[in-house]
């Protein structure tokens, strides 16, 4: 799966977790999304792990400063 396929797959996951459509760009960060608080963050991560069939380490998670890094990490795990 490449970056754009991952980005496409992120769209419905974000919509489901944040209960609204989110324009997904690599630069998007938690502070850009009004409802991206601590609790929602945990649900987002567990949902991503479930849908992509991957498991993030704490080190991976603490590197995810934006959606671009998140996509890179997913891509690395899948390939």
């Amino acid at each position: 799966m490449n970056q754009s396929e991952i980005q496409e797959k992120l769209f419905p996951i974000f919509k489901e977790v944040f209960e609204k459509e989110i324009g997904i760009t690599p630069e998007l960060t938690a502070s850009d999304v009004a409802n991206w608080d601590s609790l929602t963050h945990m649900v987002l991560i567990t949902t991503l792990e479930e849908r992509f069939g991957v498991k993030f380490t704490l080190r991976d998670l603490n590197k995810m400063k934006n959606v671009g890094v998140l996509m890179q990490i997913i891509e690395k795990k899948l390939n």
Partner: protein, 218 residues
């Protein structure tokens, strides 16, 4: 009285520090109410997170803590960190760390209270020094120890990162002693947030105040 960086053997005292500071003089522990954990489970969770080696800065990172002790006896502790230092917001680091010890069921259940949690949220400003928790043991109260410890920690952080010019702390409005202590140190009220009515079932009180200290004017 000696002030120093916290170490692994301080963890039991730091758990007490976090629990008492979170309660803000009430009996409500947000870790318990939000995650539906009893106090023993909450203690265990906090212990696990504090034990993570080299966790990026957040309110539950061992590296963020300073301890006050007298003749080897624990007198108090406080935590401070430079917000966003690791490239990721401290709230996110904290969630990431907590997640390692929570089941998916607990995480999904917490979604039920997320609107309440969002209503109580003040985002931590990147580049500022954030005060997490402060606690002084009963036997050492009345000696302005909290103020000395906070001042020491601010000076220490400032010497490590010269660009720090603002210190921020979030306090519950019901925690009058803390608000008075911060005001005495020169902190000024910057803003406040009123949570949803039913936040009272989960938090010590429903109003949170953001106080700020400018340390470049000194």
């Amino acid at each position: 009285m000696e002030f120093r960086k916290a170490k692994i053997s301080d963890i039991p005292n730091l758990v007490k520090t976090i629990v008492e500071a979170e309660k803000s003089g009430t009996s409500i522990l947000t870790y318990s109410t939000i995650m539906e954990l009893d106090e023993t489970q909450a203690h265990e969770l906090i212990t696990n997170v504090l034990s993570i080696e080299d966790l990026e800065p957040c309110e539950l990172s061992l590296n963020s803590f300073f301890v006050a002790e007298e003749n080897g006896e624990f007198a108090g502790a406080c935590s401070m960190w430079l917000e966003g230092e690791g490239g990721v917001a401290s709230a996110q680091v904290k969630s990431n760390a907590l997640m390692q010890y929570l089941t998916i069921d607990v995480i999904r259940k917490m979604m039920g209270v997320r609107k309440i949690s969002q209503s109580m949220q003040i985002v931590q400003e990147e580049g500022t020094l954030q005060v997490g928790v402060v606690f002084v043991s009963e036997a050492f109260r009345g000696r302005r120890l909290a103020a000395s410890l906070i001042n020491f920690t601010i000076q220490n952080s400032k010497s490590e990162s010269l660009k720090i010019d603002k210190v921020q702390v979030q306090v519950f409005s019901c925690n009058t002693p803390a608000i008075k202590a911060y005001a005495k140190l020169g902190f000024k009220k910057k803003s406040e947030i009123r949570g949803m009515y039913n936040a009272q079932n989960y938090y010590p009180c429903t109003t949170k105040i953001l106080m700020e200290l400018n340390i470049n004017k000194k």
